[in-house]
């Protein structure tokens, strides 16, 4: 069953709105910097891809949630507007008649980790419960459902770095199974000190701008952002087309063609050396989409710039898709963790429509151990299917195949 992508909203370090972010991917500029909102104390400075300063920086009475949920709300609002369900700031009363689910991936957004609260607790200062209240009220899926008054199923996926991809796959299945008419699906994650220190402790953060798939790569740069896709059943889409101009989608041509997911069952922090789980996830995704590997026009790779991820992923791509151009957008966005899969799926849709893919930022020299290179300059492509994939901590591997209707 075809599941439409009728709207997209997203924000990341290269743009506070989705169009700006997409345009930035095609420009040769990127500027990770030390974190603006918190300090780290390490011998080296580790740059991050942080959102520009904005009203999102601090919670207020209108948006009292954790930053991760605030980002998700911004992306969801933009996605609903893009889909035609919401005009400017008008309420979306017509959605209340439909079964609308919310499925959002995150990592930080599901964690009780307020550092100041814990420092005070540890020092027997009996801290106030405001940070705990905020955490309890900030489940990203619940917040988005509450803000837009949506009554369908709510699910927050915490599959580490594949969370966004998995959330979109689950939302797709909700529509296929007839549980929902519409799903807001995607991912959201904020930069925080705890995560930054965690990745630095694992020795997989780079003190320079990251270089996915490059021979000299030595780790990732963390980032933050959110992306939400409005997934829509074919039936609702057709009804909207017939019902007139009130709710016409502005960008209805893309659809989720298939998804696949598999686990390495190998190691907590390292991918399977031969990419066992990734191969299986890709095979499942192709089968679900009922297409063959040679129908894939391009691949938006996970490409974190860690030694292990890029080696494993590069070898699998070389073996399964030897002639398909691929790239990583993390050189522009950083690794946005639970948002990454959603942002990359959203970028994939935008590139299918644009008929152009960007250079893989940060790559200059092929790694002989991989012997397979991402593209180094923007190029056009033929075909109507593209692949967006995520490899995650814990051995999760997930893939989405996104299609574009032919004119």
């Amino acid at each position: 069953m075809k599941v439409r992508i009728s709207g997209i909203g997203g924000l990341c370090a290269c743009g506070l709105d989705f169009e700006t972010a997409v345009a930035a991917l095609f420009q040769d500029c990127r500027n990770p910097t030390p974190a603006r909102r918190f300090k780290l104390d390490h011998p080296l400075s580790y740059p991050v891809f942080e959102l520009p300063s904005s009203s999102l920086d601090e919670p207020d009475k209108n948006q009292p949630w954790l930053r991760t949920s605030r980002l998700a709300v911004v992306a969801a609002r933009a996605a609903l507007k893009d889909s035609g369900w919401r005009k400017n700031h008008a309420p979306i009363t017509n959605l209340s008649r439909l079964r609308v689910g919310v499925c959002i991936g995150t990592t930080v957004g599901g964690n009780m980790n307020d550092e100041q609260f814990y420092r005070d607790f540890k020092n027997h200062k009996t801290p106030g419960l405001q940070p705990i209240n905020r955490y309890l009220q900030s489940n990203p899926a619940a917040v988005v459902a509450e803000v837009f008054n949506l009554c369908g199923p709510q699910l927050t996926v915490v599959n580490a770095c594949s969370s966004g991809t998995d959330a979109i796959a689950i939302g797709t299945e909700w529509i296929r199974a007839g549980i929902c008419d519409l799903v807001l699906a995607g991912g959201s994650d904020e930069l925080c000190r705890v995560t930054c220190n965690g990745f630095i402790s694992l020795m997989i953060s780079d003190s320079l701008p990251c270089r996915p798939f490059d021979e000299s790569r030595s780790g990732l740069n963390l980032g933050e952002g959110a992306a939400i896709l409005v997934l829509e059943s074919e039936k609702i889409y057709q009804q909207r087309q017939l019902s007139g101009i009130n709710n016409e989608p502005t960008s209805p041509q893309a659809f989720i063609a298939g998804s696949g997911s598999a686990c390495d069952a190998w190691h907590l922090t390292a991918p399977h050396p031969q990419g066992r789980g990734l191969r299986l996830a890709l095979t499942n995704a192709l089968a679900d989409a009922e297409i063959s590997a040679d129908q894939i026009a391009f691949i938006n790779a996970h490409g974190t710039a860690t030694l292990n991820n890029d080696l494993c992923e590069g070898l699998v791509l070389k073996d399964m898709f030897p002639h398909v151009p691929f790239f990583s957008t993390k050189g522009h966005t950083g690794h946005t963790l639970g948002a990454a899969g959603a942002l990359e799926a959203a970028f994939t849709v935008a590139m299918l429509k644009r008929r152009e893919i960007p250079q893989s930022a940060g790559f200059t020299k092929i790694d002989p151990a991989i012997d397979h290179a991402p593209i180094t300059s923007a190029q056009t492509f033929n075909g109507n299917f593209a692949l967006s994939q995520s490899l995650a901590f814990g051995g999760n591997n997930s893939a989405l195949i996104i299609g574009l209707e032919e004119d």
């Binding site: 689950i170 909700w174 220190n197 402790s201 997911s261 922090t269 999760n396």
Partner: protein, 364 residues
Amino acid sequence: MFPLAINGIGPVGAFGAGMADLKAALSNDIKITPEIARIQTRAGDYDLPIFRADSKPLAEFIKPRKLRRLDNFSRLALLGAVLAVKDTAMDLTGPQTGLIVASAHGASATTFAFLDSVIDDGDALASPTMFSNSVHNAAASHIAEHFAITGPTLSLTQGSDSLTMALLTAGQWLESGRVDTILCGVIDCYCDVLGYCWQSYHNQSKSPKPKPAPGPGEGSLFLQLSRIEENAPPPKYGYLGRIELNRNAPPAALPFINTGTDCSNQLISGSGLKTVSDSCKNQLQINLNRICGGLPVPTSFDLAAAASLISDKHLYNRYDRQKTAAVPTTETICCWQPRPGIRQKPLTGNCYWITNHADLNPGK
């Protein structure tokens, strides 16, 4: 999508590990003695009963060397999973098994242990082991590795609805043919911060109502679920019937209460029940708080208690306000959880049904 066959159950809580321990606790055959923690709050110091779960039985199944880097959260999850698999004796290896792990709060104790390393020793000496285990899907990774499960794996968090959403996803995966069998569970652990919050929230409460549970608990519950195969023998624990979202409370019971009809074939179980106990006082209820404490996913052990009641045709520890005589004929049990923080009436919540009829559409 539903019903699904419940082939094996692995419960771990303050009552012990495994279905035999759970049934013994429900029958009052074993006494639960909670640990007492001294909690310092703004309003004074309090002794709080903590219903701890013990992961030591895991050593019967897995060599201690393999467990040395696992935190308590992953150990309790792994123990629940091992017990569920042992209960069914099925081989879950390979890509046709899916794994779903739900939790309201994840490995919070490990997150705070990671922060201990940062606060005590500085950013540069933060513990990579603690960080790795604090990631939400670490427990799922350990379980997948142990059983060589290479199918889809999902970790999720949705507050008190976490188990319901896990079960909904399990039904979807089986229905779509994505997998043939699923190991699905819920896990939450106690930590000192949680005890502090528990007591502080209770101190703040101006409600004269009693506390929902005597103290916080911890534990895991794992299920081995599959589709119903034609001509297959009945599953060990009956069937997971349909799941309903945003259902009024109490499910399918209001008409009975209003008309005074006997509702002995419809039970509601669950810690969350206290919230609605006044409105469904004629219902037969099971009270699990005293054997596992209060859990962030209150319906965690309801499913195990309901399934054992269905399979054994025996009502353990009946909590029956009206002292009605009927019961062990029960064929359908509804586990309902009100949405937290929602004050409007009628209350709504998500629920799932346990039944002994493969063809039953329970509650309709």
